[in-house]
């Protein structure tokens, strides 16, 4: 189960405004009726992309054709809060996003995204604001997230970002999907199990 290390993500970006964007907003529960994750991309942010009463497109940035090819999302505080559903990062990933830069993330969302190989880096508001502004002004601006240097650069902007060590290491070493390593420890798993009365 070899997985490619992720050291850099480069692409154009889109700013999705607001804080506390919860997973119900990212993918409304009614689209979770699925037995595979394929196809979830088209429902990302559905209820804010389409007017719930008329079904018409709203002025949400994801509807702005300038940002059609964006692969990096810029967001606010506590992104991905709410339900633990992995459908949320899956729908963003299937939509085409490769990474997120935000002020902070909900824990479960962060973990799920890392496992998918979609880095979620953390930036300070004062650093993120000019980047958001630059991206809104020029949708073609190329943004690079460098996970080794922990920098995000775009044009003449270069900001420092953070990423918890474990997630950073996992992405850089291509071990963000831990399954192979978990399986390899089978003997230790069984040893731990044998010490637990309720498991017997």
């Amino acid at each position: 189960m070899a997985i490619e290390p992720i050291t850099k993500v480069t692409g154009t970006a889109i700013h999705v405004p607001g804080s506390d964007i919860d997973t119900d907003r990212i993918i409304p529960a009614r689209f979770m009726k699925c037995v595979t994750f394929d196809g979830l991309g088209e429902y990302a942010f559905y209820d804010v992309r389409f007017n719930p009463e008329t079904g018409e497109k709203t002025n949400h940035p994801l509807n702005d054709p300038r940002f059609d090819n964006a692969t990096i999302m810029l967001a606010g505080i506590n992104f991905g809060c709410g339900s633990s559903r992995e459908h949320a990062p899956q729908s963003l990933s299937k939509y085409g996003f490769k990474a997120i830069v935000a002020e902070s993330y909900a824990e479960i969302f962060f973990g799920n995204s890392t496992t998918l190989g979609m880095p979620c880096v953390i930036a300070k508001k004062e650093d993120l604001d000019p980047l958001k502004k630059a991206v809104e002004e020029d949708a073609t601006l190329e943004v690079t997230i460098d996970l080794e240097a922990l920098k995000v650069s775009a044009g003449d902007i270069s900001i420092s970002v953070t990423l918890p060590d474990s997630a950073r290491h996992a992405l850089l070493s291509g071990k963000y999907d831990p399954i192979a390593e978990l399986i390899a420890n089978n003997d230790q798993i069984e040893a731990t199990a044998s010490g637990l009365a309720y498991v017997q």
């Binding site: 189960m1 607001g18 506390d20 919860d22 119900d24 907003r25 409304p28 529960a29 009614r30 979770m32 009726k33 699925c34 037995v35 595979t36 994750f37 209820d47 719930p52 009463e53 505080i77 506590n78 809060c81 709410g82 339900s83 633990s84 559903r85 992995e86 459908h87 990062p89 899956q90 902070s104 909900a106 824990e107 479960i108 973990g111 799920n112 496992t115 918890p164 060590d165 474990s166 997630a167 290491h169 070493s173 071990k175 999907d177 831990p178 399954i179 390593e181 978990l182 399986i183 420890n185 089978n186 230790q188 798993i189 731990t192 199990a193 010490g195 637990l196 009365a197 309720y198 498991v199």
Partner: protein, 471 residues
């Protein structure tokens, strides 16, 4: 120095340290439901893996089950999901509490009911409200589907250790104040992000006196406070509850099990990363006014007004919430008309919730403009309510009495708000669109407060509606 329950359970279940520095944690009990498991079984098949400990994996269906007629899935997709979990449990030898078993229900109601949820264990489920099981002194995490795959394949997952915050509530709750108010109060106090990076240990004599169901209500919403899990140390109340349940230890192993369970409780000299103290007498019946569970106020307070704050972020949050909720700033929350009353969910869909609400609903009538539904959390809860005549009290009052499921808590089934209906709800989330309509509005509260709102047709103080004596 003593250890917390969290530390002890963590130590007992640590398999080792992974190369990324995280711990490989053994998950003793894995609960699964129809929404987050089919994709994980799919990944398992893709990787040609099997379920490592099928005897430690338990399944039921709850999210998409229709509550009017359980056997008639609302649409082909719902039917496909039910078929998928049946087939997956069959193929991999997993215990499945099906509709016909008489044991089906919301996974967080079923686990404790069956005695599967036990002190000192680790529990995982692809559902954020897995924290509920912490009421038994278990460390219980909500996990994503890829982690469901990991736990299916290895009975372990990669985890980072949490800090522990002890939340101590002392004293008696005032009449008309319930466990739901305690949990809403804590979230209001510490914020929806306050618990990030923490496990919450709920303690103090208020919790000591709580029933298991009350403890579950509080632990259930640990996640709404940002905590990854919440727990209460196991005690006699816990053991009493577990006695004679189908999956509890049998009589000849009982004493040994209790001794083991007791040993997991936090030591009196355990050290915590943080301690918060709350006086139970300060807690009022609490309701939400906005779109995040920490938008809580007591029933006697006014809806916030962004004009009253100087903090621009707070201003924006209040304005956004009130624009969505279409509620008038600065006016009493009491008296806001409602359209729907929902009694149920894994927060408050248990026997004691229906008993308590029935006590007050007896002889009362739901306001004519309100659609009111009562949805037991499990088939066993439903049957017990029906034995006690609780269903009849609800029906006589004008509630629809439904079959077990998540129902209108998240509306992945036919129970949904329509348009911008406003719902007095005993569930746990008031996010935008949570109850099925993208513009539907939710006001969270205790079951008795839902009953009061249903009767009055508007947000009400249950202590007044039902003449609850002050002390």
């Amino acid at each position: 120095m003593g250890k917390t329950l969290y530390q002890k359970v963590w130590d007992a279940h640590s398999v080792g340290t992974l190369s990324d520095g995280r711990t490989q944690l053994f998950i003793g009990t894995h609960l699964i439901h129809e929404v987050t498991s089919p994709q994980a079984f799919g990944m398992l098949r893709d990787l040609d893996l099997s379920v490592k400990y099928p005897q430690r994996t338990f399944a039921t269906i709850d999210h998409i089950v229709p509550t009017e007629n359980q056997d008639q899935p609302a649409d082909p997709l719902a039917a496909e999901m039910i078929d998928a979990i049946r087939k997956n449990c069959d193929d991999f030898g997993v215990t499945y509490f099906d509709l016909k078993s008489g044991k089906q229900g919301i996974v967080h109601v079923v686990g404790p009911e069956q005695g599967i949820t036990q002190p000192g264990s680790t529990i995982a489920c692809g559902d954020s409200h897995t924290a509920t099981h912490g009421a038994f002194g278990a460390i219980a995490f909500g996990i994503g589907t890829t982690q469901v795959r990991d736990v299916l394949a290895t009975q372990t997952m990669a985890m980072e250790k949490l800090k522990v915050r002890r939340i101590e509530v002392t004293g008696s709750l005032r009449p008309g104040v319930y466990a739901k108010d305690v949990t809403l109060h804590i979230i209001r106090l510490l914020g929806a992000k306050g618990g990030i990076g923490y496990a919450y240990e709920y303690a103090g004599d208020t919790f000591d006196h709580f029933s298991m169901e009350e403890r579950m209500t509080v632990c259930n919403m640990a996640i709404e406070g940002g905590a990854r899990c919440g727990y209460v140390n196991p005690d006699e109340t816990t053991f009493e509850f577990l006695k004679n349940r189908p999956y509890s230890p049998p009589a000849d192993e009982w004493d040994a099990a209790v001794a083991r369970w007791k040993s997991f409780a936090s030591d009196p000299d355990a050290e915590y990363d943080d301690v918060v103290k709350i006086d139970a007498a300060d807690i009022e019946p609490t309701v939400t006014w906005g779109i995040s569970p920490d938008h809580g106020i007591s029933i006697s307070e006014n809806i916030p007004d962004s004009a009253d704050t100087k903090n621009p972020e707070e201003k924006a949050t209040i304005d956004e919430a009130l624009a969505y909720m279409k509620l008038p700033a600065g006016t009493p929350i009491k008296g806001i008309p409602i359209d729907v009353a929902f009694m149920g969910s894994c927060t408050n869909g248990r026997l004691s919730d229906f008993r308590e609400a029935a006590k007050f609903l007896k002889g009362k009538k739901v306001a004519s403009n309100v659609k009111a539904i009562a949805v037991p959390g499990s088939q066993i809860t439903a049957i017990q309510c029906e034995k006690e005549g609780i269903d009849q009290i609800f029906e006589a009052a004008g509630f629809e009495w439904r079959a077990a499921g998540c129902s209108m808590c998240l509306a992945m089934n036919p129970d949904k708000l329509i348009g911008d209906q406003i719902c007095a709800s005993s569930s746990n989330r008031n996010f935008k669109g949570r109850q099925g309509s993208p513009i539907g509005r939710t006001i969270l509260m205790s079951p008795v407060m839902v009953a009061a709102a249903a009767v009055e047709g508007k947000i009400a103080d249950a202590r007044e509606t039902f003449d609850v004596p002050a002390a």
